[in-house]
Structures are given as C-alpha cells and as structure tokens.
Symmetry: C2
Subunit: 354 residues, 2 copies
DNA sequence: AGTGCCATCGTTAGCGTTCACAGCCAGGTC
DNA sequence: GACCTGGCTGTGAACGCTAACGATGGCACT
C-alpha cells in the first residue's frame, strides 16, 4: 500500500474525487450515490459505498452549500435561555429542525436592546442562515424586527400579532383569563395581579386576560404590581401585597387581597414566600396562582395552580412555519402566518381553600 | 441605470464581483478591504465600502469556508437542556464562542444512549463543525466518545477525568464534601443522601464527596437513595426517608434521619415536601441541603442550603479549551487538558436549626 | 540615472461540490 | 437493419471566495 497519510504530514480529508478514483468511477457517480439518485447500477453503487466507507469520506458541506445555495442552517435568537420556557422552546425547536434536515444555531441575548438584537441577527446572517426564529417577546424587539427588512424569512415566538411578521404564540390572554375565572369561581371578590415587566408581550397579554375576566364578572380591577420574572421581584411584590392585606380596605388602597394571579411561577414562589413570612397562609387566607407550570411548581409548598404552556409545540410550530416559508420559495401562501396554541389551566392546592 | 433586479425575476445576492465593478476595482481589492488588509489606499477602501453599502453586499460564508477550510462553527451536544445547569452552561458557552468569532450549533439529546450521541455528533459533523463540546455527563457517554476517534477536537463538560479527553468540570466531590461537613458541623450524627441516577458522573462524584466527609468524621455511612434529578423522584425519596425517620433505629434500617444531602435542588424540593407532608419540619427536625443553586432555591420554604456552581465559567472554559486546541493546530500543548472549577457552599435556612 | 524596495492593485488558479449536457450501450419497434 | 428509447455514466462548467503571484508606479538611496 502506498497509502501513508501520516508520512505526508498534512492529512487532507478525502474528497469526492478520491472516492471516485478508488471506486473506479467518476466523481459525478459518487455524487449521484450520495444524493440517492435512482439511475445508478446496484453494483457500482455498492462499489462507491465501499470506497466511501474505506476512506471515511464525508461530503464537504461548504462546497455543497456553495453550489446549491442552501446552507440548511436556521438561526435562533433567544433572550432568557436559562428560563424554563425559552429553554423548552429551543429544545423542541431544535428537534423539529433536525427532523426537517436543518441545523440550528442559537445566539443568546444577555439583555434585550434593539442594538443587541441587530448584532445577533448580523452574527447569524454572517454565517448564512436561511431563516431565523426570534424568541424575544419584547414589544420593541418585534418593532425593530419589522424595520430590519432582512433577506431571509423571520418567524417570531410570542411576538404578538400586531405586525405583519409570521409567528407562533400561546394564547396568553386566554391563560390569564382562565386563571382569573378560576379564582373568581372559587368565591374571591376580585383577583390581584403581579405582572411581568413592561414591554414584554406575554406580560401584557396576561394582564389583558386578567382584566377582561374581572370586567366581565363585574369585579373591581386593582392596580397590577410589576415584577421582572425573578423570584426576588415576586417576593417584593408579595411583601407589598401582604401590607395591603393587613391594611384591608381601611386606607382605601384597593380591594381586599384574597387571591393573586402571578405572571409566572418563579415570581409566584416569591409572592408565596413573602405572604407566608407576613403570617398569611396560602391558600387559606390568600390564593396564589402562577403561569408556565415549571417542573418545580407541583412540588412547591403548597403545590402551585398555574397555566401550562406546551413549549415544545411552540418550538415545533415555529420551525414548521419557517420551513414552509423556505420551501415555498416563490409561492406566497401568506395565510398560515399565525399559529396560536391553547394553554391549559392546572389547578393545584395553592388556590383551593382547605 | 440598467439595474433592474426586479425585472429579472430572480434577484440574486450581490457578489464580490458586483461590488468590485461598482467600485471600479478588482474583486481581490474588495476581498482585501473585507479582511482588513492594510495595503489598501484609504480612498479606494472608502469607495469599496460605499459600494458594499449601496448593494447591501454580504460575504458568502460557504464560498469562504470552502477555500479557507474553516467553517468557524462549533457544535454542542447537550442532554437535559431545560435544566438550569446545562442551560446556563450552554448560554455561557455560546457567548464565549461568539466572542472568539465562532458560531455554535447545538444538538439536544432527549435521552442519552450511545447511539443517540453518535447520531448527534454525526449530524453536527455533517455540517462541518470544527470541534464539539459534549455536555452529557454520563459515564457511558464519555466512554463512547473515547471510542469514536473523531476527525476534530472534542471537549467534555463534567465528563470526568478518567479518560484522555480534555474537559472542564466543577469539583463535584468537593461540593458534596462541603455540604456534608457543614451538616456534620451543625451537630448531626450523620447525613443521608439522595443521589442522582446511576451512571451520571456528577451523581457519583457527589456521592464520593459525601462518603469521604462522613468517613473522615467517623460517621456512619447510610445507604444512599437514588433519584433521577426530578422533583417527583425527590418526593418519593423523601417519603422513604420520612418512613425511616418515624421508625427510628428500631427496625435497624440505618441511622436516624436528621440531615439529608440531596444531589440537586429540584429533588431537594421534592424531599422537603414529602418530609413536611409526613409531619416532619424542615429544618427543625430534618435538615435538607441541595446542589446547583437554581434561582428558585433562595425562595423555597425554607430557603435551601445548596452548592453554587459557576455554570457560565464552565461554558467559557470549555470554549477556551476547544478554541486553543483549534488554533494550536500542530502544536500539542496537551497540558491544559483539564479545567476544574471550585463550587461554593451557600448556607440558607434549610439547614439551620431554629 | 540606475537600482531596489514597498505600497497598491490585478490576474490566475484553485477549494469540492452539483448541474446541465452529452455520450454510450442495451433492448425494443418498425 | 435503421431507428428510437431509456438506463447508466462521464465531461465540463459553474458556485463565490481566498491565496499566491505578478505587475505597476512612486520613492529613497546609491
């Protein structure tokens, strides 16, 4: 054997021509075998496959991408990827993309600013992604996105439906409504709300659902408190609520606090803790409900009533949307632009009076 | 102007030649401008940049990769990316990679099997990654990895140090030791342990640290219970422990249960809940400690003593390791193969007797 | 004035693949 | 036997970029 790749110093990856030579065919035939073209005799196909095996040949993706003009790569821009929701979405999304034959590259934003978003997208398009999914549910993000006019399709997750950008989202408003109605049905006069930070579309939609449910029931609508999704901010809001609960209606600071709908489970944890510390028992004196149904929620003390979102489905749907846009090419269906997924209320002990 | 791209139907992305023509230079000069080559006159550089701007030109990454033989892409294989730890690592890793000028593509494993791991790696190498980080802290995963003999460098995260694969990890054994010593110092005769699932290196290292601390203190070493990282499995283990606590030493089922070291925070939540339900108060009757310091831990009831791992640092270190291996090329330093990061004990109410 | 150097720029040749096209040979039809 | 058809295979030309080298002209130094 004259093959002593070690001796040559630089061992170069085998190319299609190498395989062709070894199999005694042309490089084009090798290409045909690789792309499962039918018109190849079985015997030569076998020969080629053997050569591929022996050389450990792998198709060069760059060369392929160059000529086909397809990188088969999708980009994702995500914002708080350590949170359960975004992480789960990313997970489902990646799996779906892989099934469709795409690779996904993610860029994470430490904190959302229009500039950071643009840089992230820039970074991705520098590598030739064919499309991107943006999981930055911020009002300004979607607005910035609409401005950008990118040369590839974009799909948002929880990006709201006010702008003409295709996207998928959970019906957050319905979620807020479900929780609120559940609490009202349990006999509470009204329901307080600890909201997510301003500008976050999910936060706003949950507020809207909560308000709508209260109005429809003719209940008083208290001023919502505002957190930033973290347990700590929930804790602070909980302290505030505990103060009001103690004061009652006396000082005219809104209705009595007997039920709280918190915009996510982490903050609900903080709220519960603060209420407890203030001597208020949950759920006996104050009912607390969250949103997301993180794995821990079931084991909180007490187990947390919450709204479950099918994050995996969201991820899958976003990929379907993006891929359909990619494959369609010229054909602009333009109809399946919005996917809305229904959330589900999960009732647990935190809202059930003993 | 004869430029009517709309009229041609297919608007093709502008190429370097287009820019060159518009700027009145050769494509090579455009290339030089793009790669910040010094020997370009300022005036022509400006001209080229203007043409680039006007045409909205972007370098074709595939063509570039083809000729430079560098895709500037790194792959990651992760296992439970919805968990706080892996998600945080991924996050830090991506950021570090971006700073180094790389794009990272992640593939997630729903569940670890050697086959799934191999497929994931296959998928990545199909796209021409230059190296990969494997965040699958399973004994069999690292073993399978060592077998594979891949044509690009691999770095493990929490992959243990028994095999000759470079990797970075937190000193889990030290973590287990710190918790155990803390509990012993608080006056507990011994410490029980709820471990992670078998085969997981982190679980094993934490067991080792726990055992070592007990032995050194001359304390009895109970049989560890085994969970699977989920709150539910912790709950089950907690029920088991509660049963033993009630039985005391009577039935000879091991030492008294007054302190439990749980291998992660989620399971610790389940354990605490089960103990509470059984009428045992935490920490008055049983002290509970966890591992990871997830954001919720501080707000558990009671706030959880735990071990904080700097996941972001882990991610960064893994990228440094990988990139150094990539840039080094022929130079085999071979020394900086292992990075160990020290964890930190965070003491909270769950282990402090009132 | 001749020489050399250096900054600046253009020309050419690949990188490894797919696509379009053209050949070839067997088998069927008239 | 001439012709066509269709399965199978090879040849050449892109794809858009960078690397290597060559050409040019201005400047300083001999």
């Amino acid at each position: 054997m004259s093959q002593t790749p070690e001796s040559t110093g630089v061992r170069r990856a085998p190319t299609m021509a190498d395989v062709a030579q070894r199999a005694g065919v042309s490089h084009q035939t090798v290409s045909r075998v690789l792309s499962h073209h039918p018109n190849v005799r079985d015997s030569t196909r076998a020969e080629v496959l053997r050569a591929i095996e022996e050389l450990g040949y792998r198709r060069n993706s760059s060369a392929r991408a160059l000529v086909t003009r397809r990188t088969l790569t999708l980009g994702v821009v995500a914002c708080n990827p350590t949170l359960f929701g975004p992480a789960s979405t990313l997970f489902g999304l990646e799996e779906a993309a892989r099934d469709e034959g795409y690779l996904v590259s993610a860029v994470t934003l430490r904190q959302f600013t229009p500039k950071a978003l643009e840089e992230a997208i820039d970074h991705l398009s520098e590598w030739g992604v064919e499309g991107i999914v943006v999981i930055v549910p911020h009002r300004a993000a979607v607005a910035a996105l609409a401005e950008l006019r990118l040369p590839f399709p974009v799909v948002t997750v929880e990006g709201g439906h006010s702008l003409p950008i295709p996207g998928v989202s959970v019906d957050q408003e319905l979620g807020g409504r479900l929780v609120t109605e559940h609490l009202l049905a349990a006999g509470h006069r009204t329901v307080w709300h600890v909201a997510g930070p301003g500008g976050w579309l999910e936060a706003e939609a949950r507020i809207a659902g909560w308000q709508a449910a209260l109005r429809e029931a003719g209940a008083e609508v208290p001023e919502p408190l505002v957190g930033d999704w973290t347990p700590l901010s929930g804790y602070r809001a909980g302290q505030e609520l505990a103060g009001r609960a103690a004061a009652g209606r006396v000082r005219g600071r809104g209705p009595e606090v007997t039920a709280v709908f918190v915009a996510n489970d982490q903050m609900a944890l903080g709220v519960t803790r603060a209420l407890r510390e203030a001597g208020l028992s949950v759920p006996a004196q104050v009912a607390v409900a969250g949103f997301d149904d993180i794995p821990e929620a079931e084991f909180f003390a007490p187990p947390l009533t919450t709204v479950r979102q099918d994050f995996a489905a969201v991820g899958q749907a976003s990929i379907r949307l993006l891929v359909s846009r990619l494959e369609a090419a010229t054909v602009q269906t333009g109809d399946d632009e919005r996917v809305v997924i229904e959330p589900r209320l999960i009732v647990r002990a935190s809202t059930i009076r003993p």
